[in-house]
């Protein structure tokens, strides 16, 4: 196999892999300006498809997702900033359309809860460990003299322990 053939094979294999990275974005949607297109992709990845709700419009094949992708691109071409595009969508579909919930009074609980639980849990475990360490066995670590004698008596007594 000469080098040219080898390249053709590699190229063919790469082409065969294309479906794996294929997205819902169709060729006719893609903008000519790569910078704008990248911004459109970044925005689309953060926007929820309102039909197939756990998918972003970037990966969804739903008709409305395509419409929203085109709309995002249209707004970008019109000169909107990313924030303005998000605001445009939120004005029509509400915060629900954002896959990343915004930081506002209604969502404080949502955002803070995981950290609060982690901190409370961490403190609880710390307190528990400290208490466990400070807990002393009554009468110290060693056996008292009487205990030693009693233990010896038990260990040396042939009859004891065979009371069965």
């Amino acid at each position: 196999m000469n080098i040219l053939n080898f390249r053709v094979v590699i190229a063919a294999l790469l082409v065969m892999m294309l479906p794996l990275i294929a997205q819902a974005v169709e060729p006719d949607e893609i903008l000519d300006d790569p910078v704008l297109e990248q911004r459109a992709r970044d925005i689309s990845a953060e926007v929820r498809c309102v039909v197939c709700q756990n998918e972003s419009i970037d990966t969804s094949n739903a008709g409305i997702a395509r419409d929203l992708r085109l709309l995002v691109r249209e707004r970008l071409v019109a000169g909107d900033t990313n924030e303005e595009v998000f605001a445009y969508l939120v004005a029509r579909y509400g915060d629900f359309v954002l896959l990343r919930p915004p930081w506002k009074p209604q969502t404080y609980l949502l955002w803070i809860m995981p950290f609060a639980i982690m901190i409370i849990g961490g403190i609880s475990i710390f307190v528990m460990l400290v208490k466990l360490r400070s807990k002393k066995t009554p009468g110290g670590d060693r056996l008292s003299e009487e205990e030693e004698i009693a233990l010896d008596a038990i260990l040396n007594d042939e009859t004891k322990g065979k009371t069965l």
């Binding site: 309102v50 039909v51 709700q53 008709g63 409305i64 419409d67 929203l68 709309l71 939120v90 004005a91 029509r92 579909y93 509400g94 629900f96």
Partner: protein, 186 residues
């Protein structure tokens, strides 16, 4: 204080159980999207009439000042539930004297007019939203969807999916009455 701490796990269990119980309610729809339009003016749009249909198109301005609420229904000839809903809307228009506007969503005019010829046209106006842009302005996620706009042009109600069944129909009629519906024939 030491005594009270014993009840903390109990209280946490009650709280979590409460949330779980709330989440299991039969009438809760976790995928329901709250509409941002409620209590806000109807969105801006201007739709031409559907070719081949005799009623005119409409724009945002046509929604206010008619003297009563307007039921705005988003429909399409390719939408099967719309066909079932059509009978309900026709009854609303005839029996309850509801002013009904239609947004014909992403529908070829020929298909839409054939659909209306076949089933009858209960709509006072129908706008053709062939590219679906007006649908996005209304924040729809599919068809059918129905909105109530009161005389001041404020959206007061949104129904996602067809108005079918006793409960949905009663709710929509109640909402229409709340928005100022008059002149019903009983």
């Amino acid at each position: 204080m030491k005594r009270l701490i014993v009840f903390v796990p109990f209280a946490i269990a009650i709280a979590i159980g409460g949330f779980a119980f709330w989440g299991l309610r039969a009438d809760r729809d976790p995928s329901g999207i709250p509409s941002v339009l409620i209590s806000k003016p109807a969105p801006q749009f201007d739709l031409p009439p559907v070719e081949g249909v005799s009623v005119p198109g409409f724009s945002t301005a046509d929604l206010s000042g008619s003297g009563g609420p307007i039921l705005v229904n988003v429909f399409a000839s390719w939408c099967v539930p719309c066909k079932a809903e059509h009978a309900v809307l026709t009854r609303f228009a005839e029996v309850n004297n509801v002013t009904l506007f239609g947004i014909n969503y992403k529908d070829p005019p020929a298909a839409a007019s054939a659909w209306l010829d076949n089933l009858g046209n209960p709509y006072d106006r129908i706008g053709s939203d062939f590219d679906g842009r007006a649908g996005i302005e209304w924040g729809i996620s599919g068809v059918p969807e129905t909105f109530i706009v009161n005389n001041e042009g404020i959206v007061t109600y949104r129904q996602v999916g067809p108005i079918l069944g006793e409960k949905a129909q009663t709710q929509v009629l109640e909402a229409l009455r709340a928005a100022g519906l008059t002149g019903e024939n009983s």
